[in-house]
Assembly symmetry: C2
Homo-oligomer: 514 residues x 2
């Protein structure tokens, strides 16, 4: 794989200077175009030590407008980073729309080094690579341009570079004993890199191998590749926008035509099953709990939850509870019955409403990653990332390709949380349409509840069937072993609250005792 | 001071229950009103250990809508927190507009404990208290409601509470050996608290002492105080808004009238000195550097900066460089000459443009606090917090009381950075109006520079004199020993770049060698 990167290619100083001026102008132009197109770009730099990663990144910062570039390099994770899944620190650093992120090794570093040093076997390594590929695909799907550069040096060239760096007092700090140790493992390292590149060089996030022997050649090659990749990507973005606009106008025509025929479901992507039955149809909505039994059970479960959360703090096991459900389904009440049993310094309730503009400038999962807590805390999401496949799907805020791929994205996200040891519980608080109507009316009549009811609640109610279908599909596709859905029969609030508390206690208990 | 909080006041269970329902309704109402009024509120809880801080905070979370409450408690600072000034973690947690922050001890904790344990003397303690008072005043000035509760227990009552907590397996974890040790210092602790309360109980951030003997009494008292404080504050906000609207309409009338008289300066708050001279008038704008001298000096200084930044990483000394100046004054070029000498993983360039909506929902300094880096990094602000006293003043985006108090706020902010060991350098890149015109024209003519020039640049140019006065006042009031301004004669770009590099090198050197 690397043969073509050991040819000894060079660029003379005068050649270099002759090309730089125009190249810089073009880079600045394309950078401006990127800002206008409002999509982000990520350029990742991996490679052999001392092959010119930092020199190249410095050059790019000098040639382009550094105000719209975010440069990220990673050392060993800080204490706060260690307490969260590895992905957290990368998500935190993603460039917003219109900006460029230059990433040094980043999410490849740990996997490759662990494999070289034998900390993980090949199967584990492949699994990490698969996760990386999924992550990059997710970003690409939302419009991010991703190009990855592997800066290469042959064994002899690397040794020579180390010696040169060591000889210069300005750069000797860059060569440490561990670099020399790594050099001994050159063959292993290159073989591992080859596997990583082969498995993660995808159409939407390709690797490009660049010879690092001559820094001028390397810098020019990377800069030109970036210019070209940006140009191509921006042209594609343009075409896709036009296509989308065209599709939309056609869809509207179709929808109007079908409406005439009495069939308006296709527009919101509902695939009704023949029977009209969904997973929600099977729930026994008559279940209830009398006040006395409720009070006793509530006290017992709250005491249990209290004890469990103390143990969880000690064991550094975090809990995340996701609440979805019909409007007036009782999410807030259920959350309050949990938090009452907890120490206020140890939990956060995250209400998910419309995204802020900083959130809109990122991948839709970014706004949830930012709320992943330090170890041992509990986080309650009052609505969540499932908005993508519920309200955004039904209301058409997300296009069909977007919400369809969201199931896999969400599963991958939750798997990352779970494999970090976070205990995930997900609840759909279910009520019948009649019960909802009764609650809406009671809200209208009770002065201190009136603010809870909005016009939107009435509008959502009209799309009950569409939501029901969306819930069905969501549970079908995202109820996994490590993050199962609990459908809560919620017509009786007491029954629902106890069910939620019991479930969270059971899940915490299982995680703490296994 | 605490005599009135050792009277043994209690509320019976039936009394409590009789009051709760109405109180909860009122709290929810006032919470909604706060959201509408779009101002934040902070309630801070200090007090003797085990006097009911966490119980009270839990109660408030249960009674109010926890979706609009942020609860913050602090343990020992994490590694990332230690690498930044202490204020960073509190700024990070401030509630945005419309929300309530419940803070447990927070910024009082460290000062009080250090004093009790003799780590600081009384003068140092007073200084910390003064900083706290300034911080709270700043928040209050921007409309934040702040009320602080001191939950009190007498010595005997505290001892009894510890024993009760220890006896119950559900709460025994809350009493540690250090709590018993602290009890031995009860007298010292109370005396120190008394001093803290006396010095920081201001009109805009008052302390209220609450007897903690009976948790029902304590909870009710705090909740009622919160309800009343919010009501009063919201009424005041309302009145102030009306007053401001009235003032504005009058000002417009006055401005229109004065414009008729040919005097339109008063509207932008310009206090022209009799001579028309400003600090900028004295600069020798003819200074320049020929290309040869420049190249030699540049290489030398970049090498020096490179070495210094390596030392700074090791010494964990961060550098912050602030760039202000006329449009086309050469800020970007100067920054690039610095970053070219640095390792890309060790610096960030922060361009300050219009605030995002998350930033708009906070105190104006919040958006700068969030960019304070970990230890040993360099941060370049391309425009900065000085916007408040420059563009916001001149364009009237900030009212006169706002930009006038900003000088003190900024000085306090920078003092916090400096006393954490951060090296601050501030540059005003000065050019003459003729030079600016020449640069604007060249930007218009050069294709790859055209994007840099906007309509706004031309508009700003018309207010040259107003800006000049604002710069004069800014330098006069914020050029301090630990954060001096450097006025850079920038008509010759080479001269300016060398001047900036030299200054940063000198400041870093001084910090690293002293």
């Amino acid at each position: 794989m690397f043969e073509t990167a050991e040819l000894g290619r060079k660029v003379s100083k005068s050649d270099f200077n002759a090309q730089v001026l125009e190249l810089r102008t073009e880079l600045l132009e394309v950078q401006q175009a990127l800002r206008k197109a409002n999509v982000p770009a990520i350029f990742l730099f991996g490679g052999v030590d001392a092959a010119g990663k930092s020199e190249t990144i410095n050059l790019l910062n000098e040639w382009m407008d550094p105000r719209w570039i975010i440069t990220c390099a990673y050392g060993p994770p800080s204490e706060e980073e260690q307490e969260r899944p590895e992905g957290w620190r990368y998500w935190r650093d993603l460039p917003p729309k219109g900006q460029i992120g230059l990433f040094m090794s980043a999410w490849y570093s740990q996997a490759v080094l662990e494999r070289v040093h034998g900390a993980i076997d090949e199967a584990q390594f492949d699994k990490l690579l698969e996760h990386i590929a999924i992550f990059e695909q997710e970003l690409a799907d939302e419009g991010t341009l991703i190009v990855k550069f592997w800066l290469h040096l042959g064994y002899k060239a690397q040794k020579k570079r180390f010696k040169e760096l060591e000889a210069d007092p300005l750069t000797s700090w860059r060569v440490s004993q561990s670099d020399w140790d790594n050099l001994e493992k050159y063959e292993d390292f290159v073989a591992t890199a080859e596997r990583a590149i082969a498995r993660t060089s995808t159409g939407s996030a390709p690797w490009q191998i660049v010879e690092g022997l001559d820094l001028r050649y390397c810098g020019l090659t990377v800069a030109k590749a970036i210019r070209d990749a940006l140009r191509t990507h921006l042209a594609e973005v343009q075409v896709k926008k036009q296509l989308a606009a065209e599709m939309k106008s056609r869809e509207t025509q179709v929808a109007v035509a079908e409406k005439g025929n009495g069939a308006d479901d296709s527009a919101v992507g509902v695939l009704r099953s023949a029977s009209g039955l969904t997973i929600l149809s099977g729930l026994d909505m008559k279940q209830s709990l009398n006040k006395r039994a409720y009070n006793a059970k509530l006290a017992e479960l709250q005491a249990e939850l209290h004890e469990l959360h103390l143990k969880a703090i000690e064991a550094k096991v975090s809990g995340i509870c996701v609440f979805e459900g019909w409007d007036a389904g009782g999410k807030g009440g259920a959350i309050r019955r949990m938090t009452a049993a907890l120490d206020a310094r140890n939990y956060r309730v995250i209400p998910i409403a419309a995204p802020t503009d900083e959130e809109l400038a990122q991948h839709y999962l970014w706004r949830f990653w930012r709320h992943i807590s330090r170890a041992g805390r509990m986080t309650f999401f009052d609505r969540s990332w499932y908005g993508r496949v519920l309200v955004e799907r039904v209301e058409g805020f997300a296009g069909e390709p977007e919400w369809r791929r969201a199931y896999a994205e969400i599963n991958d996200f939750e798997e990352q949380l779970a494999s970090h040891g976070i205990v995930l519980s997900k609840f759909w608080l279910h009520i019948t349409p009649d019960e909802q109507l009764a609650r809406f009316k009671s809200r209208e009549e009770t002065p201190y509840k009136r603010w809870k009811l909005t016009e939107e609640d009435w509008r959502n109610r009209e799309k009950w069937e569409h939501y029901e279908q969306a819930v069905n599909d969501m549970v079908e596709r995202t109820s996994t072993n490590h993050a199962p859905w609990t459908l809560v029969e919620g017509n009786d609030k007491r029954f629902a609250r106890v069910r939620v508390l019991q479930t969270v206690c059971d899940r915490l208990k299982a995680a703490l005792h296994h």
